[in-house]
Every structure is written in C-alpha cells, then in structure tokens.
C-alpha cells in the first residue's frame, strides 16, 4: 500500500502553482474584471488544496453504503461546499461594485480610476 505513492505531494504543489497564478493575475492586471477572475482562480485552487487533503486513497465518496468501510474525509467537503456558494455571492457583490465604478468613472482600469481621482 505504502509503496505506491504516485501523486505524493504533487497535488498540493500544482494547487499552489495555480494559486500563485491567481495571485499574479490579481496583482499584475489593472482591469477589475480580470482581478475578479484572478480571485476566482485563487479561490478554486484553495478549494482543490482542501479537497486534496480530504481524499483517502481507495475510499469512495462519503455517502454511506453497505459493504464499504473506508470513505474519503467529509469535513473538507462541508467547508468547501459552503465556501463555494459564499464565493459566488461575494463575486456578485464585487461585480456589482465594478458596475458602479464604471458608471462613476467610465472605466474599469485601476490606473485610469486613480488618475481620475487625482485629477479631481
């Protein structure tokens, strides 16, 4: 059992790489929608990290059935399940703010908005 450890830590590493791509998008891009997409990428990769931790090899989904004794860990699933819905709620709030920003400044580029602020 222990000899076979194929993904090993690779799952976590790739999730962290994804997370950093998300972080890069948030930091590097001026466009607010792109920033929200970056946050989404970050968010999904955090979820992946959590769910990866909860996976038990050979254990199926935690829905009880006869003749199965080992299950994957349900606790991360519960945490992430609610986090996803909250994530979309906050995304919607962020997008609503972007719409208002666009109406106020006529732009959704961060630096344009800063220039306009400074000009006033």
């Amino acid at each position: 059992m222990s000899a076979y450890a194929f993904p090993g830590l690779a799952n976590y590493w790739i999730a962290i790489v994804l997370m950093m791509i998300g972080l890069y998008v948030v930091m590097a891009h001026e466009n607010l929608i792109k920033k929200i997409v970056g946050l989404n990428i970050f968010q999904v990769s955090v979820f992946v990290l959590y769910i990866s931790m909860g996976k038990v090899k050979g254990g199926p989904a935690p829905i009880l059935a006869d003749n199965i004794t080992i299950y994957s860990n349900p606790l991360p699933h519960v945490l992430i399940l609610t986090a996803i819905v909250v994530g979309v709620a906050t995304t919607a709030l962020g997008l609503a703010l972007i719409v208002r920003v666009n109406e106020q400044y006529g732009s959704i580029e961060d630096d344009d908005i800063r220039d306009l602020e400074n000009a006033e």
């Binding site: 199926p60 989904a61 829905i63 059935a65």
Partner: protein, 96 residues
Amino acid sequence: MMYAAAAAGTAVCMLLVLARSIAGPNIFNRILAVNSFGTLAVMLIAIYGFLTGRPEFLDLSLVYALINFIGTIAVTKFVTFVGMGEGVERDDMGDI
C-alpha cells in the same frame, strides 16, 4: 480497464478542445470549444463513476449538461448584445 481507456481517451479529447478554446481565433470558436468541453466533462464524470464502481452519481452529469446548455445560451445572447468592440444600441436590454 475498459473505463480507464475511455477516461484516457476523453482526457486527450479535452486537451485538444482546450487548445482550441485557448487558440480562438474569435469568440465563437471559444464558445463552441467550451460547449464541447462541457459534453466531454459529462462523459468523464459518467466514466469515472463506472471506473470507481459507484455509478450512482449520474445526477452530476445531468447538472453539468444542464449548466453547459444554459451557459452557452447565455453567452451567445450576451455576445450578440455587446458586440465585438463597438457598442450596440441597447434599448432592449430587458431582453437579455
């Protein structure tokens, strides 16, 4: 074994379709690729259920198919309204 082969084939298809959706060249190619990608995801979920011997979770496939459809319709609708670049008259925004 059979399901493993099918899953591998589906994964290769996904890669090809993903390449199309990244390459573009225009938005319609991407929408088409996303739509096919959704179908492939439906396939992969079903195959994976059989692969692990717990095929009861086919509701998931149904949700994927459903969301894929609604998403594609929404995208085509929005594309027609926003236009590619210049603004379209939006008097009938109520009809999005």
